[in-house]
Symmetry: C2
Subunit: 159 residues, 2 copies
Amino acid sequence: MSVRESDLAALSPGEMLRLDHQVCFALHATSRAFDALYRSLLRDLGLTYPQYLVMLTLWESDGPTVKELGTRLRLDSGTLSPLVKRLEAAGLVERRRSRRDERSVSVHLTAKGGELREQAVRIPPRIAEASGLDLDELRTLHGLLSRMTERLDAAVAPA
Amino acid sequence: MSVRESDLAALSPGEMLRLDHQVCFALHATSRAFDALYRSLLRDLGLTYPQYLVMLTLWESDGPTVKELGTRLRLDSGTLSPLVKRLEAAGLVERRRSRRDERSVSVHLTAKGGELREQAVRIPPRIAEASGLDLDELRTLHGLLSRMTERLDAAVAPA
DNA sequence: TCCGGTTTAATTGCGGACAATTCAGTCGCC
DNA sequence: GGCGACTGAATTGTCCGCAATTAAACCGGA
């Protein structure tokens, strides 16, 4: 029933190339479709999707450093520094230089930022509904994506 | 065995939100992991991944208009116009204003652009191998992604 | 104590993605 | 033929993502 990995090598180059591109292309397409849907739902909150991810992280646990945010969201300071500053300019967040280690900057919710959560909790159910997948499928998809990311990371940065 | 969609509504809000975010976040993470791998493999060719997609399209069928490229790759002119100009600056492509309809611009491979194909065909097998999924899993993944994109598109742009 | 290596943010530069606008060219309809 | 609506590219502006660099703070060992 299950096709083993070694069988991939037995495919004709054409078949392998085609399937591979379909999957990778489909991945990008789905990712952008998600972005588009989030954009339309987040417009009222004045957030972009990456900004929303940062807010989610803060709602779960306030006061992480930029470094910790980057680790959790897989983003570097080149992305996070201006993003967090935009959140600060919007009055949702406050940046504080740590006294203990003056290199690090921790990010804290303002009252306004905390209140935004109540608007935000209505969004995920609409996303889940729009995805059109049932629970089993979401679990399957998540499993496949996680394994793939793990393997890809290993391939791009070989130990 | 299979969980029906209606069961999604029976989940506690917390469960649904968490699973949804994991999936959406995983999708972005995988997408970026793919980008990183392609970037490392495409560096020798001097192409980025979106540029590579355009070249793939041209190798399959030369001379599409910018509009047709946008339809196939789901990109708009704001992305494609400068991208194609960069390919032209690199000598891989030539833009021609159509005589029949002077609004449209068709994109054609140069000799150099055609030759690049021989370098490029070595890349997909390495990507497929790096993904670490077997054929069944790739098919499953592709199916899930396609259905999701379809549903998401419908949700963001309701008829 | 000082010195070198490391860590943390921030900045710069470039390419990609999208919204919104502009402009020329096309087509239909009167 | 001429007017109005539409279409295809291009442009502008904003944000995201990453590479590479800079600068400041930290830490450890000679």
